[in-house]
């Protein structure tokens, strides 16, 4: 299970990386916005995408839309971990095909629950 963590703040990437390691996911790679994440995804081998929303360059929503529009990537599970908390944004992310949505600040338990739920659903 290889996971791509996308966030423009290195501290947040580190936090998520550590929490994922705690949950038993040791194989993670990082990108600092959508436009650097997309080539990594297109190269293949990523099984799960955890992305922030608000980033310079390409935002998380744009990245999600690109992923869903790509036949090779459109089944990739995507978890959004973001400070964006407007209802219309959550609805928009859901419409764009997000698999889970965690608002910052979050707890380790919430992240664990959402990740487990995603994997349960996709089997």
């Amino acid at each position: 299970m290889k996971i791509l963590i996308v966030d423009d703040f290195s501290t947040m990437r580190r936090i998520i990386k550590n929490l994922l390691r705690d949950l038993g996911f040791n194989n993670t790679v990082e990108a600092d916005d959508g436009s650097t994440a997309l080539p990594v995804l297109k190269n293949g081998g990523i099984d799960f995408l955890v992305t922030d929303w608000n980033m310079p360059g390409m935002s998380g929503l744009e990245l999600l839309e690109q992923v869903r529009a790509d036949p090779a990537l459109n089944k990739l599970p995507v978890l959004m971990v973001t400070a964006e908390a407007k209802r219309e944004q959550i609805i928009r992310a859901a419409q764009a095909g997000v698999n889970g949505y965690v608002v910052k600040p979050f707890t380790a338990a919430v992240l664990k629950e959402k990740i487990e739920k995603i994997f349960e659903r996709i089997g």
Binding site: F9, I15, N54, L61, T82, A85, K86, R87, I91, K104
Partner: protein
């Protein structure tokens, strides 16, 4: 003072000035001193009137410039719900953001210190128990211990190992909390970035204002055109842009109706959408 209201700009002011000066010299030539004084008073009044108008124009320009910061969908939608302050400025919002930064950094510092406080005694206790146990083991190897003493040592060693297990679980939990508390850096970073953006906007708008003020004698309403409200189409475009690019962390999320107040709210919303 008839006709003074007509001094709407510098050109007409100049025309009027020339007219009045001619009247003034005619009055003086005719020996009409009181008439001449009246013309002088009118001239001075006209000059004041023009200054008031320019000051008014500048004030209006400044107000528009400040309001321009408010052409920010985030605020207009987020704050219109809180009935009283429909025109809360970006500057006031920047203060809120900075206050929230203070709250977040304070919270993170306290959480981290609380966890350190909770972890220290655990580490100290494990160390202390290890020291005592080591002494017991040393005694055993130095002297001939009875079977009962060796059994005791076995039991206390087992108890110690149990304590290490419990202690490390507590430490692990505390370390995770310390780790999570560092999330403040992301949130405060986003808020500060936005405030820096505002400061830059203020700066460039102030520069514009200084330019406007420097051209007082050439102001003919042009600056007003530059400050026109964006059309509803532009606003909609801006709103879409904001939505796609992100609004940043929400300040006072619990008081704003179009913002979720936490993970439970997100979960409710998503489950209502069939998630």
């Amino acid at each position: 003072m008839a006709g003074l209201e007509e001094f709407t700009d510098l050109n007409s002011f100049e025309d009027q000035l020339q007219g009045r000066v001619k009247e003034l010299s005619t009055s003086l030539e005719n020996g009409d001193l009181s008439g001449a004084m009246a013309r002088l008073a009118e001239l001075s009044e006209a000059r004041n009137q023009l200054l008031y108008q320019e000051v008014g124009r500048l004030t209006r320009g400044l107000h528009e410039a400040i309001k321009a910061f408010n052409i920010d969908v985030e605020n207009s939608t987020a704050f219109q719900t809180s009935a009283s302050d429909t025109e809360i400025s970006e500057v006031a919002n920047a203060n809120e953001r900075l206050n929230y930064v203070l709250e977040l950094t304070e919270g993170a510092a306290n959480t981290t210190m609380d966890m350190v406080d909770a972890s220290m005694p655990v580490a100290e206790e494990i160390g202390e128990q290890a020291r005592l146990l080591r002494e017991d083991w040393k005694k055993m190897s130095d002297s001939k211990s009875t079977l009962a003493e060796i059994k005791d040592l076995g039991r206390s060693t087992e108890a110690f190992l149990q304590e290490i297990e419990n202690g490390t679980n507590i430490l692990h939990k505390n370390f995770t909390e310390i780790l999570l508390a560092q999330g403040f850096q992301d949130l405060t970073g986003q808020l500060i970035t936005r405030v820096i953006g505002l400061v830059n906007d203020v700066e460039s708008n102030l520069v514009n204002l200084v330019k406007v003020a420097g051209k007082v004698d050439s102001i003919t309403g042009r600056s007003q055109e530059e400050l026109v409200e964006p059309s509803s189409e532009e606003k909609a475009e801006e709103a879409e842009e904001k939505l796609v690019k992100g609004h940043g962390p929400q300040v006072h999320a619990e008081e704003v109706s179009d913002v979720v107040s936490g993970q439970d709210d997100v979960d409710d919303l998503l489950s209502s959408l069939g998630f």
